[in-house]
Symmetry: C2
Subunit: 239 residues, 2 copies
Amino acid sequence: MPAILYLIPTPIAENALHTLPAYVTEIVRNLDVFIVERAKTARHFVKSTGPAKPIQEMIFAEIGEHSALADAKQVFMDAITAGKNIGLMSEAGCPGVADPGAAIVALAHRAGVRVEPLVGPSSLLLALMASGMNGQRFVFHGYLSPKRPELAKDLRRIEAQAKQLDQTQLFIETPYRVQMVVEVALEVLQPDSQFSMAQDITGASEQILSMPVKDWKNLKNFQPEKLPAVFLVGKPVNK
Amino acid sequence: MPAILYLIPTPIAENALHTLPAYVTEIVRNLDVFIVERAKTARHFVKSTGPAKPIQEMIFAEIGEHSALADAKQVFMDAITAGKNIGLMSEAGCPGVADPGAAIVALAHRAGVRVEPLVGPSSLLLALMASGMNGQRFVFHGYLSPKRPELAKDLRRIEAQAKQLDQTQLFIETPYRVQMVVEVALEVLQPDSQFSMAQDITGASEQILSMPVKDWKNLKNFQPEKLPAVFLVGKPVNK
């Protein structure tokens, strides 16, 4: 059998192994070559699936640092040549989406290796589903500008795009800038624009808010958690 | 306990119930009010999970037709008032993404009802993961224009956007237009642009192709299946 590159989702919240279909953990259990964003968390995850082999006999090649990509590619080619299946894993969620895994998938296509994406959690997709905004047209921007004046400009720009194209606008932010994003958004977005924030989806402190900007302003003493967040900006939702 | 709106993914390929995590089928088994794209397929799916109640005693409100949305909203409000949890389901894949379910999610937010998105297959997300293209910035357009000259224009426009913004461009097509999309794309896209097509992901006839346009032209007698497809256009992939 020719080798396969499995794209393996991992949980996006603590203690959320239940969000993975059983066929995914079954595949993970029988692999011994992994290309991963960070070896430490990947080993921890593989261990939790009850693997067939001892962890010490497995290979975990990292692609988190830019410098390591060439090494990971070599690990990939060696495994393929030996007829071994490979697992690609992100730090959390789906590999190839908002992470550096795409380079390995592209290499697999060039090498004629079958690429098999497996089903699992994606914070972007879950946040989009849960927002109640247009899921028929949407765009993901990654991170917006980190500083207030540029962020304000970015938010006004994507708000205009949301209205003009009826296209939901998604972006993500790191824990320590979530509060600032909420503040700036409530300052600069129009009162009837829809604004959504999702944190810790599938986790114990899951919070999903979606309402017009004017209703956000009425939330008393609202404080987002210091956790990563997915934000969405959309045109006013029809009643 | 206040009622919850569960966003329930369903399989995207035949006989692919294994792609749903067990916690999803467990939740489905214990619901008896569903808002669905098409009642017939929804009943079939709910039956396959081994529900606690007879199917005839459940409510399936359709939102597939525009005219039925008001009825579905009434079913939603009645269930909430009675303290009952509700399941929202798409015809296949994730509700609220490329389907009309978002209106019900928006209603839930307005009514202060907790929205709980569950993990499952999305052909868009799986196609993006498997493409090897940039997953850090991407846009989903829904369907492009159905006629050749306008489709050619659309493809040129999204190709320019892919290069200018380094933003992967996704769109979908129905079975009977897939062949035409491939023909027009190979005519009008630049030789080094990356072009990907995914069909029947997670299914028995899964096919995922991703390569530069010039390599597509070398495929001899290539015929896509008469199945829905996800297409992606991206800038040239670095080696």
